[in-house]
Amino acid sequence: MVGKDDILKIAKLAKLSVDESKIDELTKDMGEIIEFANTINTAVTNVESEDFDEINNIVNAFHQDEIAESYDRELILKNREGGLDGYFFVKRRSEK
């Protein structure tokens, strides 16, 4: 059973800030969702034969690391708010 403290801890890991007024509803929802997810622990699996990668014969498809032409840096950064010469602007939060 998850409690408020668990939710706050997970939210911090997920970089989400939880509004105090919504914490009870979120804790209830997450408790139900985790209980639902927990049903997988009633299943019996054979560790040796049921590995996903083995069953699918999955192998990594590596290729040569070739340097290719890419996008211009300013073009890639055009979606940022403000910024100049490859830098980002954020509000000043310390005194001079």
Binding site: I10, K15, K78, R80
Partner: protein
């Protein structure tokens, strides 16, 4: 379906109209733009209409025709893209506040290919935020309604793509399917929706939700159109590490005999399905028997775990994939913050909707120390069991037949319900994504309210041609009973 389109498919029919100069591409495009402007206020299929580029492309097509040059099948055909498919210089938001204003600097591979063929992009279609939902109602632009009955949702997450095609506001649309997001709205809106074999269509430029499950697929008004679009987009792409391309041109194999084809029925897929849904599927089974197919019944007990496995794995991948939205490089940024960490947390909490935050939290939880083995690792093992059970099932049959969704389209305001209840409606579609298989939804009847019912046909990996052919044979047998052409939008 009008008589003239029954004979070919809509794409071939329009191609002939354009080639014979019975209508110009600009006239055709303008008709679609006008109908979108008229209908979209209610249906909310489009979140961005690309009128200028659509008409410019249409002019290019007309010039080619005037010069006597041959045009390809998809050239000049008005279509749409889901708003999570990157389009250079066209805003792409995933229907999330956090990506409002984001303009990609490159095209997704699927769009790059279609654009080079002068496909006419009418606009970007509505979707559940980051493709997380089954009703399209988690979109920051509000939900998309079902043209068959506007008291009902279009489905999700590719709800806008389905409502646009169903309401005759596009000939076809591309959506994405992570757990049923192409097939379910196709089912709700009386259309054909294909989730291709994992790897057969490039994911490059598709904004990621759950990378091991995501796949782009077409939504269209009939099987032939679906096959034409699939053939155009299923190519190997070196920019997608999981790309393999397709093996055959599916449209060439349509109308092959299905005499002796073994159709598998797994009883677990029918648990909880509505009476109308079961009755329509039974009728379709009878149709297949009359076409010479053999019905094989079996059990797939591992399906019991498919939904929790799906939600654990999809959310785990989502929590990682959505980690990039920090308000620094692109998209929304909060105004009110104390330091950089506070800025990122507040940006994400203000920018993501409720359902997306729930899934990020679940994903973070199942990947966190102490829970990783019990949830994520266990779910991966069960994924292996589910894959294996499908492999075993396909030793007994060629394709499987199931309902696409246990119900018809939900009434609006569906997302306000219990989240688990919403997740349970994905029961028939998620196993396919878990196993990377191809599957499509084709209409097979209507419920007592006149809402469409969808039937799912599942194949082995890279048997996309086989399921399209099985659907085509059924469509030819039952088309008068399974399609309802609506009065709205462009009638051609």
């Amino acid at each position: 379906m009008p008589e003239k389109i029954k004979k070919t498919g809509k794409i071939k029919y329009i191609n002939k109209l354009l080639t014979d100069k019975e209508i110009s591409c600009v006239e055709l495009t303008q008709k679609y733009i006008d109908s979108i402007k008229k209908e979209n206020g209610i249906i909310n299929a489009y979140v961005n209409i690309t009128e200028e580029t659509a008409l410019k492309t249409a002019e290019t097509v007309d010039e080619k025709i005037q010069r006597g040059e041959k045009i390809s099948l998809l050239e000049g055909i008005p279509m749409s893209l889901k708003d999570n498919i990157s389009t250079k210089d066209v805003e792409t938001t995933c229907c999330s506040k956090i990506l409002k204003g984001y303009v990609p600097v490159y095209d997704a591979t699927v769009w790059e290919g279609l654009k080079s063929q002068n496909a006419v992009l009418l606009g970007k279609t509505n979707m559940d935020e980051f493709a997380m939902g089954s009703s399209c109602e988690t979109s920051c632009f509000g939900g998309s309604l079902n043209p068959h009955n506007t008291d009902h949702v279009a489905g999700g997450s590719s709800g806008g793509a389905a409502s646009a095609v169903s309401g005759n506001m596009a000939v076809y649309g591309l959506g994405s399917d992570t757990g049923g997001s192409v097939r379910q709205p196709a089912s709700f809106c009386g259309l054909v929706g294909l989730k291709p074999t994992y790897g057969s269509v490039s994911r490059y430029g598709l904004i990621a939700y759950a990378s091991s499950l995501d796949q782009i697929g077409p939504i269209a008004g009939n099987v032939e159109d679906t096959a034409i679009i699939y053939d155009a987009i299923s190519k190997y792409d070196k920019r997608d590490a999981t790309s393999s391309g397709s093996r055959v041109k599916t449209v060439d194999t349509l109308n092959s005999s299905i005499k002796g084809m073994k159709i598998g029925i797994a009883e677990e897929y029918f648990d909880g399905a509505g009476e109308d849904v079961i009755a329509s599927i039974k009728k379709a089974i009878e149709a297949y028997e009359s076409l010479g197919a053999e019905i094989v019944q079996f059990k797939l007990p591992s399906l019991k775990y498919a939904l929790p496995v799906y939600y654990i794995l999809a959310c785990a991948e989502a929590s990682s994939n959505l980690g990039r939205y920090d308000g620094i490089r692109y998209g929304y940024r909060t105004d009110n913050y104390k330091d950089v960490n506070d800025m990122i947390s507040r940006t994400r909490s203000e920018g993501f909707g409720k359902e997306v935050q729930r899934r990020i939290l679940l994903g973070t939880y199942v990947l966190s120390a102490g829970y990783y083995d019990a949830y994520y690792k266990k779910a991966q093992k069960l994924r292996g069991s589910i894959v294996k059970s499908f492999q075993d099932a396909f030793t007994e049959c060629d394709v499987m037949l199931t309902p696409t969704v246990p119900t018809t389209a939900f009434e609006t305001n569906y997302t306000s319900k219990d989240p688990i209840e919403t997740y349970l409606t994905d029961i028939c579609t998620v196993p396919v994504n878990i196993a990377g298989l191809p599957a499509l939804s084709i209409p097979c009847g209507f419920d007592n309210k006149g809402l469409p019912i969808g039937m799912q046909i599942i194949g082995k990996s890279f048997d996309d041609a086989k399921i399209l052919n099985a659907a085509y044979k059924y469509e030819q047998y039952a088309k008068d009973e399974i399609y309802k052409e609506l009065e709205s939008g462009v009638r051609i």
